[in-house]
Subunit: 333 residues, 4 copies
């Protein structure tokens, strides 16, 4: 039984809280939030205890692991504390929006051998995991081209976007991680171009809402990503991997399986309304993986170093958005 | 090169005429119709010659094969003439709506060793042929259950229905033939029940427009057929065969592959508008088969005897419609 | 907050136990089982209390509702106790395999105005609920034909089958209920024929494993059901409703959305392995409905009377299996 | 009735020959080829006449239109002759691989008001035409992103590739035309990157076999194209257009509609084996369009000027392949 402290009781903290509470090998020992009422609400719902005292959350005599789901600008600090206390951590992405600060804390964590996992939960999505298994097994030969689609249903609020780091660092970064994980390769260079079609005011932040990204992998394989913030038909993700002998696709998912036939057309149930409906299950499987690794002493991942790599791709992509040319990618560690 | 006489220049004669004219191994030598203008129209379109003289059409010195596409009540007579002349025949179904007359001519044809094929063209549909191949190959184990769906887009005119022999003999008979062909077995008994939901006046003819049929095959495998005359969503056919180790399905076909995504739904292209759009291709492949068999001396089929068997099932099904019980099927030859 | 006693801690009791424990408006107050160890195991897992004392479970001062998930032969007795105690009950099907006993307890429950629901949980399946909504809304016109498919992955143990009441009462009965619910009509007559293709020893029990059933509805609409115990390709359910102006289908569901393309073929993820994977979600939505109804005083259903109707259809279908003819259906209440 | 001369009796000439011969409003008057035997073969098959005399083919008193299907390096010359003779022309793409020569002949043709159409036949594909109709109708709002996939089954022979102009000019150019046609806009700039994954020797020709292309449209909409020469799973084309309010997709097409279910998987019929099976029908509909336009005096297109635009995009894309940056597109006319 792993005693967890949950750091952060906002929306995503609530998701993790429910998963922790339902996990047969987890004891949700503590819920920390700087807002006591919020921590208490969540703790009560799951028969846990609330605190605003960080020292409690990182007390290695009472806590076996922390799940960091607080606001983005606190991740690095909590990771540092976890490393100091020697408490394994499952951390929401990103490590820190500032790459230099992120590199700093990762290096520190490495000196302390922190067991940490960044919650790129899409890796644990049933379909993406199966797709990666097919690719890795060699069933489609060697990877030649990857197509990823990431399309959100609605513009996030401008105040969120303003502190998000921009589309590459906030949204596309998940797919940079997936491209690395699926291909098993570190992209060498990236081209990105984007527009503000959904929300013209984004231009004031130097950000885009609609972008097309191309990566080159060692050996010459290519990756295309299309990434948009607001579509009119729900939430749309898909991945397609073309290999030398075949192709494998994780199709866009629909919210139901009902078809209505009338003259000249068939109306099927549409896509999920939002990202959460689509990938909620993968938060649970990611947690399973983390807990299993804790219990069995197995490798934990995606690691902090891997998360840094995805972030490094995002940095180069953001440069390309303004340079209009392919940018080399430099990996910090 | 096979010299063909086409008997009948109506709608289906026109379809056959075009296929004969386009066939590289066929010379459409003659078009017969009792209506000279109609024969001439069709003949001209394909650089052929028209006649109203049956003797010309069945002249074995000038004609290698006949394709009988005239009105239903003349099929038996033309088959008898072909048998007498020793000219191979490809004949539209049915042989004759009256089973006794049909049996008669088939027996006569057998005494003359007539090479004849009844145009149950669905056997030559690309998907149905593949489905039958899968079943026959043993890929799904032994057949346990067959589901067939046959749904037309619109009520045929009452005057047609009045002379059609009724839904079992006119429409369902195609699927009785398919059930035999797919399973390789002669059904032992049949249950049918039906209603007049699309056209209440059908009741005056003792006919139905919506029916559910169940067949029992030797060994206990079952067949279900649903058969309707008028649906609101185009033309719908499908077949599904459940075997002891797997299942194979020839899915309903759509007229196109365009999908339109909007909030909560996906609108795909619908089914074909009518039966002809769905199975037109199979008239050509059926003709290919017949011509190949003529040229190579191979077996020709479905034979007259097989057509009689499908008709015998239809007779028993029609009896069951009124008896409310499973009826044994008696095969005449 | 509704205080529930769970009656029965076997497999399906475990499913209900987890759903009750996770429900925000439910307090799983008590787990009853005749086997104390089993009750204790389940109770512990969810922070509840175990008992072997039925009086505790039906104590109206401590318990607001019971969920009856014990063995089939005890349902009627528990329903009677619930009616006597005035405690609302959610009961697994069937009420009793013996129709007369079932009628008896339903009449008794009616005299006590017992609020009771039989867990025909498929009604609460997301896709079936949507299909029923489409039909009821009139989008496809009036119902003319319903096709239902119910195919299990593997023969249940013979000892289970021996006490199950036979395929019609055990398996097909769910689809009799769905046919009534979707059409809003009580079928008038039924034809059924069946075979023992998967397990020949079933014949000793007068049972079948592969059956084809046809129902006639008032007004002439038809229903076809195919029902098998053992298929080689997982668990397969589907429903299709043909109306006078369109058609609606709840398609067979697959376990994933990954497609693998190679020369000449596309390999998709297959169906769910078993019935539980396919419909587990509907146990939760059925419970939601029951709890909502308790809290809001709304109508509860499917009622005991509705469950009796499905059972009456199964009785007539079982008769037809041996009579070889359409049997009239008599509804007991 | 339009009297056609067919210029070129190779593979694609044979396709056009059959379509011309079957067209009810066309008289295939003449087949020209520099190889008399080849011309004669084709002419015979369709009851036409062969010639090696170009003057005959461009004799305006005997010929109403020419279909230019000869080798690529002769297109420009034949178009010039047609313009001089005042004979409308349907011409296979490209006008000429050398952009300057192509511009020259187009300018000359314009001075003579030549009615000419370049056979970008994909515009006439049933699904692509429907997709374009949906986009143009405004059903999905304004265009924001277009995804095109063009993947061939096998490397063409190196000798072909050597004279093809390279992947951008030979293969991708079709999709440049489609992008313009679907969006109704002339792309402003293009980024392309490519690799030689299927055939390393291509590098000697400065060519690639696997490429990723991005276009920017006026207003900021983006286009992504992936383009490969050799895949292991048949022939694969698809188009997806994301608009501000919805999305429309022309899905990859399969060669059949049969599904085989077994434990854990469903095997469907795969894609077409080659490009010809996929788009053969569009040659016929393109011809229909040209003939209709001739008969009704309607506008003919895609025009020579439009073909030049697609070619200009290909030129800029080819530049980008080596520059590693977005290249502006300059339209010659």
């Amino acid at each position: 039984m792993q005693r967890f402290a949950l750091i952060g009781a906002g929306f995503i903290g609530g998701v993790h809280g429910a998963n922790l509470a339902a996990h047969p090998d987890v004891d949700l020992a503590l819920v920390f939030d700087i807002d006591l009422a919020r921590a208490t609400d969540l703790a009560k719902r799951h028969g846990s205890r609330a605190t605003t005292d960080l020292a409690e959350a990182f007390d290695p005599t009472a806590i076996d692991a922390v799940l960091i789901a607080s606001s983005t600008d606190t991740h690095a600090e909590h990771l540092r504390t976890a490393a100091t206390a020697g408490i394994p951590a499952l951390c929401e992405k990103p490590i820190d929006l500032d790459l230099a600060r992120a590199v700093d804390v990762v290096r520190f964590a490495e000196t302390r051998s922190l067991r940490a996992m960044v919650d790129f939960n899409r890796r644990f999505d049933r379909d993406y995991a199966e797709l990666q298994r097919v690719v890795t097994s060699g069933e489609i030969g060697s990877v030649e081209l990857i197509q990823l689609t990431s399309r959100g249903p609605a513009m996030p609020p401008l105040e969120y976007v303003a502190v998000s780091g921009g589309q590459m660092r906030d949204q596309t970064v998940h797919f940079f991680d997936l491209a690395r994980w699926i291909s098993g390769l570190d992209p060498e260079s990236v081209f990105a171009t984007g527009s503000t079609l959904a929300e013209p005011r984004l231009a004031e932040y130097g950000d885009v809402d609609t972008s097309a990204v191309t990566l080159r992998l060692p050996g010459g394989a290519l990756v295309q990503i299309d990434c948009t913030r607001r579509i009119g038909y729900g939430y749309d993700e898909r991945i397609e991997v073309l290999g030398s002998t075949g192709m494998v696709e994780a199709r866009r998912q629909r919210a139901g399986s009902v078809s209505r036939y009338s003259a000249g057309r068939v109306v099927d149930d549409g896509l999920h309304a939002g990202w959460f409906e689509r990938i909620r299950g993968s938060y649970r499987t990611a947690l399973d993986h983390f807990v299993d690794a804790l219990e069995n002493g197995a490798a934990i991942g995606p690691t902090l170093a891997e998360a840094l790599k995805a972030q490094a791709i995002a940095e180069a992509a953001a440069r390309s958005l303004t340079s209009g040319r392919m940018e080399p990618i430099e990996y910090p560690v």
